[in-house]
Symmetry: C2
Subunit: 442 residues, 2 copies
């Protein structure tokens, strides 16, 4: 095969064969195909699109480009989750302990944050001593002993994805649905899950702004998973306002701990129960008509009884974390400066712009603008009022946790612009827009 | 400016500004923009196209990327020609001496052949001693003394084109009209012509297969030239069958010499008079209603009187070539083996597939498959019968001039497939399909 033939075929809108896609991805991963040919091909893919089969073939080729994890020695049927990234998204921290507490073992490999949304690993590292880098043996041992592990990637999962993503970033080929879907799903497939729950965010604080776009992306990913023999569910969830109240690493860990003790915001609770309910149902391969409701009720009971909390505590302890910080979240890293942002108007809150909140948190140091930036675990924003709340002028809308005056001032400016007030009560904001499962024939 | 912004803008189908195009071309020429970004951009240009203004801006930026020739010290108003490449296209060898003999000085820089069509320089080099590499001073001196020079490129004309062309070749972005047009025209603009006659070939032996495509390409190039202040004419000419009889370097030189002595095939004669007529008319800035006919008649007289031949001989002598070979073309390099291909059927010739003839010549060694291949001046094909001729079974259709048995055998196989015979006399094949001048507002 010749790279130019494959580029020209895609350029002309023709469907590539499984072999052609595999040859191209393998050749690029091995540095046998140069960046400039891959760049031309990516632009052709961007503008011509890919069929469902091509997208599955691309994902599979990327998933098989490096090591693949085999969890079967410790988990009969592995369930995983993935969020496309949201502001204040601490759902993994709450859901995984709950599902594990329900008896379905979970082994999740998370990433670090880039851009506005912090990564789960960054959040966990605000607990002193928590080890995110485990060996494969340690992962197996954790699952066997505790039924839960939450850590960073081991080995080289889907190296093709890392290479292609870096090239997309500098060639204007990032926002392509088949390329986004294959990037996410190749890592999930390589990580060894049998069933995957996708949390596809849509709104001001998400990559996708329109529900219709998120639905298309979700369907593509669900079809990829189904095509690769995985059980798939994707939730399309709102990311116009932050999820819960806390945005920032230690602040989110604290909120997650409180939530696991049954004391958290209603939106976060409902979100976690929905995601966790699907995971539990899939993990148990329960196809009954009431499977989801039953699973959600069970998880809620585990939340209220504190069993989810104890599973989280057990996980932290077994991964070397300081449980004193779990028992008393007041001991988590704290910022030196606090600032409040009052409501400039009275009325009903009709919008809390999640993007502005995320940008404020990023500037405070809670996230990374570049891969090599350090994160500050202590800083962030607490959102006191959410969409639908009624406020009076001067009511505190946000508390800023900062470690320097300059970023505090900048965050204050941004956050002052985040809320919108109206005199009439708004329609309640939906939490989920849709639930996507495999399409017919998928 | 950022390269990714410019890539994304073109990707999304938006029109780039003059400044953006210039910045991108300049940055790429200076190695400040990497190949992979240029490759993604070229694919976006390929699939999204370019407006007339963008194409002109691209061409101008490429033309200004290196040195630009100023012929004004020796030619008041310079006229140039360019052929998009045909099989048996020795028109420059005939036309330039004729135009020079008519008193309009010509300074043409030609290229070497790549692919099926041999380059004018390769053809001239079959005359022993002919120097194609002249200094700029020598070029000026030649024009001053003889009114004609036919040589290779001096200095770095349009280096952006060389770099972009090499990248297009390996990224599936060659057959794009704005990219083809800008590649051709950037070199023409940099070479200092005030008026340009384009010979755009269409048919089996040409890059373009359909008249409509050739017309579009011609119009784009004419508009670029007009936009850059040049007088432009483009002829859309047939390249379904080879032009004249000879295909191969020395064979074509011999045919050109014979033509300049008034003894050549009718199609070549008519073709040369048309191209030359436009050049002469433009060079004299003669806008009279009979300017073209008058110019053609004048050139025909110069052909029949031998004045064109003497101008050619003068050029060869002044550029170091062995005039004995001009006076007696039998002294030009000759191949060691001859082979004949008889007609397998009788009837009227309705087709001589120019592509097959070109491939046969290429395999014999008359052209280059790769830039670094040497060419054999002696080998080639003589086409004895043309479309419309009546033949009997066994009549000789082609004579093959080879230097080894293997390529002779392969050429024989190819050429056996080149003609198509029918019992009914075909419609005469048109020589020119159209004449394109600047569009309104161009």
């Amino acid at each position: 095969m010749r790279a130019t033939d494959i580029i020209e075929k895609k350029r002309d809108g023709d469907e590539l064969t499984t072999e052609e896609i595999r040859w191209f991805v393998t050749g690029y991963t091995r540095d046998e195909i140069p960046d400039y040919q891959a760049a031309a091909w990516l632009m052709a893919v961007y503008l011509r699109g890919m069929s469902r089969r091509e997208t599955l073939d691309l994902t599979t080729a990327m998933a098989e480009s490096g090591d693949q994890l085999d969890l079967s020695p410790v988990i009969d049927y592995a369930v995983d989750k993935h969020s496309t990234g949201g502001v204040g998204d601490k759902v993994s921290l709450v859901v995984l302990p709950l599902v594990a507490a329900a008896g379905v073992p979970v082994a999740k490999m998370s990433g670090r944050g880039l851009g506005f949304s912090g990564g789960t690993l960054d959040k966990l590292e605000s607990i002193a001593g928590y080890r995110v880098q485990l060996s494969e043996d340690e992962i197996m041992q954790q699952v066997r002993a505790h039924g839960i592990v939450l850590c960073g990637q081991t080995r080289q999962l889907a190296p093709a994805d890392a290479k292609i993503y870096a090239l997309r970033d500098v060639t204007g080929t990032v926002p392509s649905l088949p390329l986004i879907a294959s990037s996410i799903m190749s890592k999930k497939l390589a990580a060894g899950a049998n069933a995957i729950v996708l949390d596809v965010k849509v709104g001001m604080g998400a990559f996708m702004q329109r529900v219709e776009d998120a639905r298309v992306l979700a369907q593509i990913m669900v079809d990829i998973g189904a095509g690769a023999g995985r059980e798939m569910v994707a939730l399309i969830s709102d990311m116009n306002q932050p999820l819960g109240h806390a945005v920032g690493n230690a602040l989110e860990v604290r909120e997650a701990i409180n939530m696991l003790r049954g004391d958290g915001p209603a939106d976060l609770r409902d979100h976690c129960l929905a995601v966790g309910g699907h995971m539990l149902r899939l993990g148990r391969r329960d196809t009954g008509s009431r499977a989801l409701e039953d699973a959600m009720a069970e998880l809620e009971a585990l939340m209220d009884s504190g069993e989810g909390f104890y599973k989280f505590r057990e996980m932290v302890q077994s991964q070397g974390g300081n449980v004193a910080m779990v028992d008393d979240p007041g001991k988590l890293p704290r910022a030196g400066l606090m600032g409040e942002v009052p409501a400039a108007e009275g009325g009903y809150v009709t919008q809390i712009n999640a993007l502005l909140v995320a940008q404020a948190a990023l500037e405070l140091g809670a996230g990374r603008a570049q891969k090599t930036d350090p994160v500050d675990p202590a800083v962030g924003v607490v959102v006191h009022r959410k969409v639908g709340d009624q406020v009076a002028v001067g009511d505190i809308m946000f508390t800023i946790h900062a470690n320097d005056e300059h970023s505090l001032g900048r965050a204050r400016e941004r956050l002052a612009r985040a809320p919108v007030f109206r005199s009439r009560e708004p329609e309640p904001m939906p939490m989920f827009y849709d639930t996507i499962t495999a399409s017919v024939g998928g």
